[in-house]
Symmetry: C2
Subunit: 492 residues, 2 copies
């Protein structure tokens, strides 16, 4: 009883984790009962007979979770069956020329050579990655066709029936998988990448605070608990094989949603690699959160401001990248955050230059400087990821943020709008005002820009300014010199 | 033409990389032509008819590279066929009770429910890991048997034939894979782990020298080239999925060679995880070899001795672990090397305490201390790996090194032997002498011990000493206090 209950609980968990799994199960059941009508319906049975079983087999074997995997397997199976069928007929014909004693010997030799050769070719890395299943079916069909030919006179009819049932089975799988609640491997890969970046961003956004807090509150249990909350990044460490198989499937998929047929899936793998590199550093950084040797509060206090900012700004850059991936818009403000993180780096190193480390114990020093150095590494990797993402964005034609202002609810003149200053509109005058509409998580609402900016905690200051062309240079407010800034655009 | 030549070259490379692949290909060809004799040989054909194709299919699908994978798939397939066959007959019987109109409808419903349920269960992580293939065959056989029953009267005979051909096909695969040049997944996993440890050891043995040399010779190109030589560790970073699948296969394998049936394969995965953790740190460390910011020669010179020793000794510990894994003997001297590395750590930190870092630039300081801290991390992880390896060694009953003295070429009394002081022999008197036979890569020759030891660069000193029981405590020479020691045993 207990076991059954466990099983049901596990089933609920599995279904909840991804409800598409339930749908997929129903789809398989549906296609299978559909295809088994070959047996029940007399006219169909008359033309195919027992060969109907190939349709059933094809469905069971070919129908995979994602469209790409199903298409890949289906096409592989059909192509391999066609090719092996033709070759099998040839082999049968050749063998039958040698008389009744020679025929089985010759057939056995053909089967041996073909099976050994194909099995060997399956070890080729490039073949293994994409055509492993083709070769399996190739070996199988060749053996079946050439050998059955020995018994059955009408080998052509047999081959024809096998091929057509395989095609029917494969086609029904492909059609159902595409048109009934499709699961796109490409979409999954895209989401996986976005969620991986988000996981890292979550760590980084929290890390700066936690690193300083661990000393503040002495309750280690509480700290431990919170630490577990952001251990999510660990799943990123081993995402490689998953990403690779998804990319492999995605290559088979036709255009869908925002993805064209030749979407640059390869670029996803290289971004994924960089993300993993970053995750390795984060894993190392994480070990400093509750290391045995803790840096004294004094020193942390002195370094707190730039240290937090480094972690927070790189986290924000990651967060924006994840949003940009999810929404398929070009990442715009991430550049700013990366630059902010880098400028925080500089203030930190100049702080260190000022000689505040003179009295620090050497073991503390090691621990502290390692954390700093890992953070610097992470910021550099963030920049690399961003670069790669820019490449992806242009290769995959991500939308420009400026094309669709998100907050332009009041586009009439003189009204205040949070939005994006569009380059083309020359008569824009941009005013920086005390903003009260953009104080949420700005990256998700998309109401940040690199153009004209106001410091976050600087709400009283109101400056007026003309938008200029090379707005990317602005990493600080012209009037007050603050570096972390927010934008409101007033259309006039 | 060029393409064909490329293909042949690729084939040669694949075959050279692992010659067992060629053997495997021949084995598949052999079994397949053997099984196809079902068609040629009249008495066999009389009893099985077209059902012989199931034997062919089973061979093509079940015969995998390693014994474990073949056994796993074969057993899965046979068990699933048996179970689904029985259930299919039941379903057919139940459906046939409802008359000729109700039968196809009921059958379709059965197939639908069974396929949907089984497909859903395949998503359970534990099922997916081990029984995915079983369920595939279960769905297939159930559908085929229950639906064919609609047309064929003798459903029992059909089922019986299918099951027996599947068993024959599966059995011939299993027998050939076990008795003709077997490829054991367990052995492969074991070797993979040993080679992964060795890759890390290679990095660590070289790293200390390289870190100091990069400054000494200015020729960056040369340094770059040598750097590539020891980038081997990178393959360790993504070995997880490979290790997991090998461990999965290994569980199916019977005892072979030095591995019993219930060999602790799980422990391999946990050691593998630690090794990967270590590899992540090494990856981070590697980036400091040719970083933009280089630590000045002065500072490096001052820290060189303990720094090199940390890297070298942890590398040696790894190397010995790899040898111990390969030879399946208990790791003995690794403990000593880990302790040496730890004592080097202590001398390094006390050097840092002495205040030699006062004048160092902050960016240099970050770079230097991070490298040191990563190295400390690696030493700690080395200790963890060693602990895990000790657990494995006792769970898998690795041999004791003392049982098989490797260098006891002259076991007669009064002669000098490099070897292992055996605990049982009470009349041993151990003399430390100037050794000239043990100056190669000692770990591979197995001529190191924790027992009585002499410092490596201390060849003039000759002490006489009785072996004592708790020799593991010796981390330094009693007479001169040196810590890195070498042993020669003189039997009297």
């Amino acid at each position: 009883m207990e076991k059954v209950r466990d099983l049901v609980r596990e089933g609920k968990r599995v279904a909840k984790e991804d409800p598409r799994r339930v749908v997929h199960s129903f789809k398989v059941g549906l296609v299978l009962s559909l295809v088994s009508s070959f047996y029940y319906y007399q006219p169909l049975y008359d033309s195919f007979g027992v060969n109907a079983m190939w349709a059933v087999m094809t469905v069971v074997v070919v129908f995979e979770f994602s469209v790409g995997a199903t298409l890949g397997k289906g096409l592989n199976r059909v192509a391999a069956t066609l090719f092996a069928g033709a070759l099998g007929i040839g082999a049968h014909h050749l063998a039958s020329l040698s008389g009744s004693t020679g025929e089985p010997i010759l057939l056995a030799i053909f089967v041996f050579i073909q099976a050994a050769l194909s099995t060997f070719v399956r070890f080729f890395p490039r073949v293994k990655a994409r055509y492993d299943y083709s070769l399996l079916i190739f070996i199988l069909t060749f053996a079946l066709i050439s050998v059955s030919g020995f018994r059955e006179e009408q080998v052509l009819v047999l081959t024809h029936k096998r091929i057509s049932t395989v095609i029917i089975g494969g086609l029904s799988c492909v059609l159902i998988s595409i048109f009934v609640c499709p699961v796109w491997a490409g979409q999954d890969l895209h989401s996986l990448l976005a969620s991986n970046v988000e996981k890292l961003s979550f760590f980084l956004l929290e890390f700066g605070d936690k690193y300083c807090e661990t000393v503040k509150d002495g309750d280690t249990k509480e700290v431990d608990k919170r630490k577990n909350d952001f251990d999510n990044y660990k799943s990123v460490l081993n995402s490689k094989s998953n990403e690779e198989s998804l990319a492999n499937f995605a290559k088979w998929e036709p255009g869908h949603g925002q993805f064209r047929f030749r979407h640059p899936w390869k670029q996803y793998l290289s971004i994924g690699g960089l993300i993993r590199q970053c995750a390795y550093r984060i894993d190392a950084l994480n070990s400093y959160l509750n290391a045995d040797i803790q840096v004294s509060i004094d020193i942390r206090k002195k370094l707190e401001e730039p240290f937090r900012r480094m972690s927070f700004e790189s986290g924000k850059a990651m967060k924006e990248m994840s949003v940009s991936l999810t929404k398929m818009i070009k990442p715009s403000s991430s550049d700013l955050h990366v630059r902010n993180a880098q400028s925080a780096c500089k203030s930190l190193t100049s702080l260190l230059h000022s000689g505040i480390l003179k009295e620090v114990e050497s073991q503390e020093l090691i621990s502290l400087l390692t954390a700093i150095s890992l953070l610097i590494d992470i910021i550099n990797l963030t920049e690399n990821i961003l670069e790669s993402l820019h490449e992806l964005a242009s290769a995959a034609r991500f939308k420009d943020k400026t094309e669709s202002p998100i907050f332009a609810e009041k586009p009439n003149s003189k009204s205040i709008v949070c939005g994006w200053a569009t380059k083309g509109q020359d008569d824009h005058v941009v005013t920086i005002v005390n903003d009260d509409c953009c104080n949420g998580n700005t990256s998700e609402k998309g109401n940040r820009s690199n153009k004209v900016l106001i410091h976050e905690k600087h709400e009283d200051c109101v400056h007026e300014k003309h938008e200029d062309d090379d707005a990317h240079v602005h990493s600080s407010c012209d009037s007050c010199g603050h570096t972390s800034l927010r934008v409101i655009v007033e259309c006039r």
